[in-house]
Symmetry: C2
Subunit: 324 residues, 2 copies
Amino acid sequence: MHSFDELLKIFENRLNKENFSHEPKELYAPIDYTLALGGKRIRPVLTLMACDMFGGDINDALPQAIAIELFHNFTLIHDDIMDNAPIRRGKQTVYKKWSSNIAILSGDTLFALAYQYAQIADKSILANVLSVFNRTAIEVCEGQQYDLNFETRNDVSVEEYIHMIKLKTAVLFGASLKIGAIIGGANNEDADKLYNFALNIGLGFQLKDDLLDTYGDESIFGKKTGGDIISNKKTFLYLKALELADEENNRKLTSLFNNDSYSEDEKINSVKSIFSNLKIDEITEKEIDTYFEAGIIDLNSLDLKEDVKAELYDLAFKMIHRDV
Amino acid sequence: MHSFDELLKIFENRLNKENFSHEPKELYAPIDYTLALGGKRIRPVLTLMACDMFGGDINDALPQAIAIELFHNFTLIHDDIMDNAPIRRGKQTVYKKWSSNIAILSGDTLFALAYQYAQIADKSILANVLSVFNRTAIEVCEGQQYDLNFETRNDVSVEEYIHMIKLKTAVLFGASLKIGAIIGGANNEDADKLYNFALNIGLGFQLKDDLLDTYGDESIFGKKTGGDIISNKKTFLYLKALELADEENNRKLTSLFNNDSYSEDEKINSVKSIFSNLKIDEITEKEIDTYFEAGIIDLNSLDLKEDVKAELYDLAFKMIHRDV
């Protein structure tokens, strides 16, 4: 078994060898730029790791790992337009640096490039791999649409939120592992177990995101906390607080999120004070643990040696128990 | 051999049976809306026709025909955002009726749905079909980028223009036929001949578009002519005129296309008068004929019975010699 760091290095080496600098440069420069921004590369490493776990040759999974990473970056480019996000990974987003049109079209191209890599698989598994890839691509779009819908809705339930982040975030972790497992020679049942494992870890991962955005240690987190509160983002923390708050606090919280007259610090402090009275941080931690444990049950149920599963366990642990 | 009208009916029946109304409705309503707007459906019929020509079962080509039509509609939805186009097929464009965000995301979803259909092919040909589909998708994006680039450039050559419309328009006609031919059992050489045939017909088709926009008979064309001139579109007509004009007319034409102080009628009449003095309409007709004839040479070189090729010949003839 290769370690995460080994797989990451193998992936980065291969990605760097791929050439995305074609003509017209207006189309490909934003693709190069986005891929060079890096990111954690968790998804492609998951693909290689799953392939490795089932005794496959990780070289066979590299095209799919690239496909997954390209797809992920395509969604970021388009999401940043829709979310008016100026900064991604510490740099200007594509639509800010160039234009919306360039971001739409280079995103489309990146999506098509992703498929170009996704189809590099043995005849015997190609249809299976692509059907996971396709279904996931569609679900990720659906998740983003729900997320956009939630911006203008005041009656979003925690359950709806979990469904949204499952589609927007978790299924791509699931697909990353499942596709790697298929290439590695796993049977359908085992590939599905890994998929379900990743869904749970993915949900925990996103809830951790929500938690860190409000409760992260700024010196470690690397940016100011409270961003989600400032932008009225209906995260798990907010929705759970609404669910648990009494009528007065419910009204207060809703008003804080629908009123732009507060100063940033005032708003963050008021919201956090309601969150803290309701122990939202602890509740979220507990929820994250629940997803982590549910995931681990699926991982443990795989009939593989413990040391083969250890690397993935460690990665999941780090995804959930991170400070950044 | 089935006729165009028979194949169109078969295609429409099948498309109508497909269900694109899923949740969230904000994402799928624009897809339903776009597909219901119709259009000529030339591309999917080409796929069925090519399959038919080589003795294939057209049912096997229906998923690919749908894939091609979905892909085409995806490009329209995104192009309309980039081109600020308010009207498509007589109705509001998706971005106008809903929003840019909805148009970006429902377009992305339509692209993913296209791939879902594209992959429904026999194992033995799937990789071949998908590599045509992928390459074409990327080329169409490149074509659109060149088109956007041309808007702000004053030194576009006729040759560059032809390269742009080849990518933006002609390759998808090529892919439509080639994929149908592969499914129908054609060998690579024959599939490529059909591809080249379609490239030439596609170029002629686009030049005819340019010609009709300026010289169409408004009572048949169904809309006001001169739209390309009003919007300063660097069509074949304009670029060829710049190439052929003397210094004075060249300056005049450039000034007309870079100056918003003229009234619409004044501008159209002045530009058309320069075009007419240079016989741009005749030159364009001749160019269209040249592409048509080049295409027909490829079609004739196919070792198929004449009556098998007749339906495609007729379709190409109609694509080129249309009034609408």
